[in-house]
């Protein structure tokens, strides 16, 4: 009994994911079709990338979260379209600009939070709005340009039977897991989240750690922006809209505590898969929009309750 309880406390979110997938495949014959799985996974990959960065941020505790990620994604998408003009030859310099941009925004967020002591929710909310205004200033409201074939390949192509975006996400998950679990930096992240005062007394430069965390979040949001742009294929000011909330939901459902110091990227990926599965299922079941919202909300609460049980015992 105790073993069972411990198992569920540790792996409940994965059991929940399995049950959701099993239920979906039973109630909708279309769910397990290969093309439907691809349809789910392509946009899920971008959400997964953002959620990796969000996991790092939330792990540090202290109310840490990054609301600017969706705005970074959209801004990167319009920069990439404008700078590549649909030409593969321009992708590398444009991608470099985009990644630098994401890191820069993360740096500013980190400095606001550590040096000016602006609460993370306010700093990143403010940044989200500034980026929105800046994007309209840059595009004059209409995003120009188009995406090169390589970027479309990243968003919609395949390497063998595996979608390129999923393969990319898998590589990023491995890297992020190694960084968090096997490096000094990873241990510092968990230590900062668990108890920032203890981390300071242990000689950690927690301000530097927090700044780096927000830079990682900005970097991951910019990478996700490029992938989602490649998936949609249209330069738009609103690419990634809603990903800030979805990424936070995925992280928390996946067992990373808002209090910090507990959780990880694998749980977050389970949270991402639960979200995209339920978003797809309500469409396949042709549920009325009102019911769709209620089902989505209920699933998020139930999934999060698995984490709460784990965290309180």
């Amino acid at each position: 009994m105790v073993r069972t309880r411990i198992f569920f406390e540790k792996h409940g979110i994965y059991v929940f994911l399995f049950l959701i997938v099993l239920f979906s495949s039973l109630v909708s014959p279309a769910f397990l079709r290969p093309q439907n799985i691809v349809n789910i996974l392509n946009p899920a990959a971008a959400l997964g990338m953002v959620a990796i960065g969000q996991t790092f941020v939330i792990l540090t505790g202290g109310g840490g979260l990054d609301l600017s990620v969706a705005s970074v994604m959209a801004t990167v998408a319009v920069i990439a379209a404008a700078h590549t003009g649909g030409q593969d030859s321009q992708l590398l310099p444009a991608a470099a600009i985009c990644l630098f941009f994401g890191i820069l925004i993360g740096l500013i967020n980190g400095l606001l939070i550590t040096k000016l002591r602006v609460p993370p929710i306010m700093a990143t909310l403010g940044m989200m709005i500034i980026l929105l205004g800046g994007r309209f200033l840059y595009t004059k409201g209409i995003a120009e340009g188009s995406y090169p074939p390589i970027l479309r390949f990243l968003g919609t192509g395949f390497v063998g039977p595996i979608p390129t975006s999923v393969l990319s996400l898998a590589i990023m998950v491995v890297i992020a897991t190694v960084v968090l679990k096997k490096t000094v930096f990873g241990r510092q992240v968990y230590a900062t989240g668990a108890n920032i005062n203890t981390a300071i007394l242990s000689g950690y430069n927690t301000d530097l750690i927090l700044v780096m965390i927000y830079m990682i979040s900005g970097l991951m949001a910019s990478i996700a922006g490029l992938y989602i742009a490649g998936w949609i294929g249209v330069a738009d000011n609103w690419v990634g809209q809603g990903y800030e909330v979805d990424s936070i939901a995925a992280v928390v459902m996946g067992g990373t505590s808002f209090e910090g110091g507990r959780g990880g990227v694998l749980g977050t990926m389970a949270g991402v898969l639960i979200l995209v599965t339920i978003y797809n299922l309500v469409l396949l079941l042709h549920l009325p929009v009102q019911t769709q919202y209620m089902v989505k909300g209920a699933v998020i609460i139930i999934a999060a309750s698995f984490y709460v049980r784990r965290g309180t015992r």
Binding site: N39, I232, Q241
Partner: protein
């Protein structure tokens, strides 16, 4: 000190970014075509009490910039203001980011500044009604654009009928399919007047075609990515059973075409003249209808306002001019403009066609 400098830099950057885009046709409002769809006697509003000498201060109290159509609307207003700079000395712009309480505060602010004329795109009919009524009572002429308030306490309401739009889309699709087939509906934003009114129009028209079956209707938030996601799921559910796609908006029609193209399906589709949608229809040879709900109506609000301030009577309900753009004519829906003439290959995908919009100048 360091903290103060950093704060000042951030405030400076924010202030710079809020000074967005100032652009700005004059004068004459041609409402001949707009009267075509008014089934009732044209109700004119006597405006001599608002008459005053220029220059004027005018304001646009916007609901939000949450989609390309809204952005083009703002650009059009600014363009027309710019064209009338001899008459309009100041132009104030507020954006409520879809928050009714913010839009009420914006209206109060504009009234305190004693502007001569306000154009408002109200977030909701009910929430904005009291403040618009107060402005009306204070003698400030208010023109509602695209969305009106609950009462009739405004000088004029400039829009194009969403019911007509929905009917035109449904009639074209049903007639193109020769009255028989399965369709799916991409329905905009749940609860939004534009989406729900178009859906009512669609249902009215489809009742005349019992052979047309709606397989599924989904709200798609006027979003390209949501349009693609939903269309992909519909293709998985129904596959080749889908004979036509009725999209009430241009953004989701663009997303849907991406999904249809990836699935190797070519079925008739409706939408708005959203340039990316227009380009892909032309490029891939989809049969399509685009019904104009032109953001250029925003500019007509300015022209209408100038007439009000000159004491010239204006229509209480002003139906914006509207064009039907079709790749194929049907017995009751004939294209007003050739598809290629409403498609701009060198313009961005999110550019929205609108009569009266100068395709080059408006972006300056």
């Amino acid at each position: 000190m360091k903290r103060l400098i950093v704060t000042l830099i951030i405030v400076g950057v924010c202030a710079g970014l809020t000074g967005i885009l100032t652009v700005g046709e004059a004068g004459e409002v041609d409402w001949a075509r707009s009267t075509l769809w008014n089934p009732y006697p044209q109700q004119m509003v006597e405006t001599s009490k608002y008459k005053k000498a220029p220059p004027y201060t005018m304001a646009y109290c916007n609901a939000s910039l949450s989609n390309a159509w809204a952005v083009v609307g703002v650009q059009t207003i600014k363009y027309v203001v710019h064209q009338n700079k001899d008459k309009i000395k100041d132009f104030l712009f507020t954006d409520a980011m879809d928050k009714p309480d913010k839009q009420i505060a914006d209206m109060e602010d504009l009234m305190t500044k004693k502007v001569d004329f306000i154009v408002i795109r109200a977030i909701t009919e009910a929430a904005l009604d009291p403040i618009v009524t107060r402005a009306h009572a204070q003698g400030i002429p208010v023109v509602c654009f695209s969305r009106k308030v609950k009462s009739d306490n405004f000088v004029s309401f400039v829009a194009a009928s969403n019911y007509t739009m929905g009917r035109a889309m449904a009639i074209w699709l049903a007639q193109y399919l020769k009255g028989k087939g399965n369709i799916v509906v991409l329905a905009g934003v749940a609860g939004a007047g534009s989406a729900e009114e178009r859906w009512i129009g669609i249902q009215e028209a489809l009742s005349l075609y019992p052979g047309i079956k709606v397989l599924q209707k989904e709200y798609t938030q006027y979003s390209i990515s949501k349009g693609k996601t939903v269309m992909q799921a519909m293709i998985q559910s129904f596959g080749k059973k889908i004979d036509g796609v009725l999209s009430v908006g241009g953004s989701e029609a663009l997303g849907a075409i991406e999904a249809l193209q990836e699935a190797g399906m070519k079925v008739p589709i409706t939408g708005e003249p959203f340039n990316g949608f227009m380009k892909r229809v032309q490029q891939h040879g989809f049969p399509a209808l685009a019904v104009d709900f032109s953001p250029a109506m925003a500019g007509e609000c300015v022209s209408l306002g100038l007439q009000v301030l000159q004491g010239i009577s204006v229509p209480h309900y002003y139906q914006g001019k509207r064009f039907l753009i079709a790749t194929h004519d049907t017995p009751d829906i004939k294209s007003d403009i050739a598809w290629k003439d409403a498609t701009f290959p060198d313009r961005p995908d999110t550019f929205v066609f609108g009569y009266g919009l100068p395709p080059v100048e408006w972006l300056k």
